[in-house]
């Protein structure tokens, strides 16, 4: 196997690889700005300098030349090389800043040049705290600036597009954003203009940066030049806690991180998942923080004399159980949803199955042609495949409307699906029936339902979703509800404020906690009222029962989902077929 020596340590590598990528893959450190594993390599930041050399090979003796100590003679490249663009070769010797004074000097001088025109506005810059330039200046940079002249001034606060703001003075011209629009989103809307120290990225005059993936450029910007107009000045990085989750606004189910402060979702960023979204996500998915924060149903609501009143959980449970007891099981229509999780759909179908209504239906929300062939799928719901795999009857909108309006049913139980908002039935049609809505946000369906049960969103519960490719992924709660607690639930993440904040601080409150429970938990409580043997203590137990009872989910566990970044259920199925 080919060998390479990095700072006097021997490593083995296979196949073509770049030196920088190899160093990063092996957990070593080398500073860089412009390199990105998914983009082309321009080598223009000059930060990943290394000394590189190769052993001298004597063709006559057909062996490596050795010095008096018996060591290989190394012929170094005359100048420092950028590791990002340097191909690793057999026997190569690399000296990084760990062993080479020259490299340390090179990195320091490069940083000094980059910083010459960079404004010193870290205290008000959104990138501060997660800024490669800031981190690397602390670590490898010069101690001060020798530049005593007026800095070059460039345009500030340019609204490049609806979601991205540019501060050209902070830009270090790494061209990551330009390469992203050229190579990944392919909109080619950005370009570097002017030249020399006036360089900065911008769109053509009169045109907007309205790429549906535009905010990814904010994520990959190694400085604060590009900022999200939505998140700008909302929160400092170190105040938030970061929780892995998945995008629920689209069938693709991109892996994301949810950033919360005081139980409000402040922003959503993509999380690396090579099986689904690589490093990217569509802008629409970042708007999901509104679903988690705004217009939530908190505390159950019950219709009394045609007026919606907030009620206790007990009252809501009694109202529901009385209604169920007053009719036959086959008079209940059970509507699952591709917007709800695998666990909730399963629990719903199982609960009413035990009650005597075996049939559960759902209507997928697929709009042909609304997606692209990248990260936006035609399927607008996050769990259509999950519902299919669970064996819930798939109906189109018209058929579901016919079921809901049919005289056969006296009670409609709706999980999460906004049947009125999606124009499956009209508000009057639904209002003419007794309906129970288990939902997260106030909408047109919750407005006309007789009983409204607040359930947790993807940011508040442990559950799994199956995306359009048939890949199952799970969410971890990022927000506390009234009934969960980060300090007690060891799977929830805790940022600095969560750790050190107390209820007596003015930045920690209870007001952002929603009074809601997972849908399966509500069904467990309802089962207690109705004396049905239906008991789960956690979503994990629900999932274990799914795994034990459903072919599609066999051999899957939360641990496997975590360690393998999701499990491909669709292909697993095929593999088994091949084996047979």
């Amino acid at each position: 196997m080919a060998e390479i020596f990095i700072d006097n340590k021997r490593f083995e590598f296979e196949g073509p690889t770049k030196v920088l990528q190899f160093i990063l893959d092996n957990g070593l450190e080398l500073p860089f700005f412009c390199y990105h594993p998914s983009l082309s390599i321009p080598a223009n930041c000059r930060k990943c300098f290394v000394e590189a050399g190769q052993p001298v090979f004597n063709r006559e003796t057909n062996s490596f030349e050795l010095d008096e100590n018996g060591e290989r003679v190394i012929r170094f490249f005359p100048k420092l090389m950028t590791a990002c663009s340097l191909d690793a070769t057999d026997g190569m010797v690399i000296k990084t800043h760990v062993t080479s004074e020259l490299v340390r000097r090179g990195q320091k001088d490069t940083l000094e040049l980059i910083l010459i025109n960079h404004p010193l506005d870290c205290p008000i810059c959104d990138q501060a705290g997660e800024c490669p330039l800031q981190i690397q200046t602390y670590k490898y940079g010069p101690e001060g600036s020798r530049f005593e002249h007026k800095k070059v001034h460039k345009p500030k606060r340019i609204q490049l597009g609806p979601r991205v703001v540019l501060d050209a003075e902070r830009c270090i011209n790494c061209t990551r954003c330009v390469r992203f629009t050229d190579e990944i989103s392919k909109s080619k809307q950005l370009t570097i203009v002017q030249r020399g120290d006036n360089n900065y990225p911008v769109t053509a005059p009169g045109l907007e940066f309205d790429d549906p993936y535009s905010v990814n450029t904010v994520d990959i910007c190694p400085v604060g030049a590009l900022t999200s107009s939505d998140f700008r000045f909302k929160a400092r990085v170190w105040e938030m806690s970061q929780t892995p989750s998945i995008d629920i606004t689209n069938g693709k189910g991109c892996s994301i991180d949810i950033w919360t402060r005081d139980n409000l979702v402040m922003r959503i960023t993509p999380r690396y998942n090579p099986h689904i979204n690589d490093y990217w996500m569509p802008d629409a998915g970042r708007e999901a923080y509104k679903i988690y924060n705004e217009n939530r149903i908190s505390r159950p609501e019950v219709n009394v004399d045609n007026q919606k009143i907030k009620s206790s959980w007990n009252n809501a449970l009694l109202t529901t159980s009385e209604k169920i007891q007053s009719i036959q099981p086959n008079e209940i229509l059970v509507v699952g949803s591709a917007y709800a999780s695998v666990e909730d759909n399963f629990a719903l179908a199982k609960f009413f199955g035990q009650l005597g209504q075996e049939k559960a239906v759902f209507a997928p929300n697929i709009i042909e042609g609304s997606g692209d062939d990248f990260l936006i799928s035609d399927d607008l719901a996050p769990n259509t495949s999950g519902c299919e795999f669970l064996g819930i009857d798939q109906l189109d909108k018209e058929k579901l409307a016919a079921e809901i309006t049919s005289d056969q049913y006296k009670l409609i139980v709706i999980l999460h699906e906004d049947v009125v908002g999606r124009q499956i039935v009209t508000a009057d049609q639904l209002a003419s029936k007794f309906s129970i809505y288990l939902g997260t946000n106030k909408n047109q369906t919750s407005a006309v339902s007789n009983v409204v049960i607040p359930v947790t969103t993807a940011a508040e519960h442990f559950v799994s979703y199956v995306n359009v490719q048939g890949r199952i992924q799970r969410t971890i709660p990022a927000k506390e509800t009234l009934y969960t607690n980060r300090r007690l639930d060891l799977e929830m993440s805790m940022g600095r404020l969560d750790h050190f904040g107390t209820q007596f601080d003015n930045w920690v409150t209870d007001k952002n906690k929603i009074d809601c429970i997972p849908a399966w938990e509500f069904l467990v409580r309802l089962a207690h009222e109705l004396n049905i043997d239906f008991k789960f203590n956690s979503a994990r137990e629900v999932f274990q029962e799914i795994v034990a009872g459903t072919d599609h989910f066999s051999d899957v566990s939360y641990e496997r989902i975590d360690s393998e970044l999701g499990v491909d259920l669709a292909n697993k199925q095929k593999e088994e077929l091949n084996l047979a």
């Binding site: 909109s187 080619k188 809307q189 950005l190 370009t191 570097i192 203009v193 002017q194 030249r195 020399g196 769109t203 053509a204 005059p205 009169g206 045109l207």
Partner: protein, 181 residues
């Protein structure tokens, strides 16, 4: 807004330019030149026309056009005086020359006189460091070794639409050889 378009003959010529290269990107510069010769400038609308003609994005064309001061991104005067203010010229007094020129014409660098005759630009190196300080007139003739009198003469000439003559420069070889040690 004026509608900018290439004629059929020009499009044929552009096709020939594109055919010289493996992809359309390198054709941006010659086509921008054609456009500037035709319209007198490459304003954003013209850049969009070039982008459309070459099947590129307007952003790419804008990036190229903005890199070169020789492309006029806005309407300019009849004669554009590009005064080099890069290092060699600067050391030989290019800023004095520029300010003198600004005073003579009553405009600042980057502006155009009211009669639309002259524009002044402060530009980067034009590759004539040996003849500093110097300027170029409308991407054409170089005027070398600028002095106050020379500027007056050139401006007077241009007012009568007379471009200054090309100035032959004595060859380096003809200088006195340096003393040998």
């Amino acid at each position: 807004m004026q509608n900018y378009e290439f004629t059929k003959e020009e499009l044929a010529k552009i096709d020939k330019i594109i055919a010289k290269y493996p992809n359309p990107q390198p054709a941006v510069m010659p086509v921008l030149w054609m456009a500037q010769e035709k319209f007198g400038h490459v304003e954003p609308e013209v850049q969009q026309l070039v982008a459309k003609t070459l099947d590129l994005t307007p952003a790419h064309v804008y990036g190229v056009a903005s890199f070169y001061t020789q492309y006029y991104k806005e309407k300019k005067g009849k004669y554009v005086l590009d005064v080099c203010t890069s290092f060699s010229c600067q050391a030989c007094g290019a800023y004095d020359t520029l300010h003198e020129l600004e005073e003579k014409l009553g405009i600042k660098a980057g502006e155009t006189t009211e009669d639309g005759m002259f524009s002044i630009q402060s530009v980067e190196c034009l590759g004539a460091c040996g003849y500093a300080p110097m300027m170029q007139i409308t991407n054409d003739v170089y005027v070398n070794h600028l002095t106050s009198e020379k500027l007056d003469k050139v401006i007077e000439g241009l007012k009568q639409d007379k471009l200054p003559e090309f100035e032959p420069i004595p060859l380096v070889q003809n200088r006195e050889p340096a003393e040998e040690k």
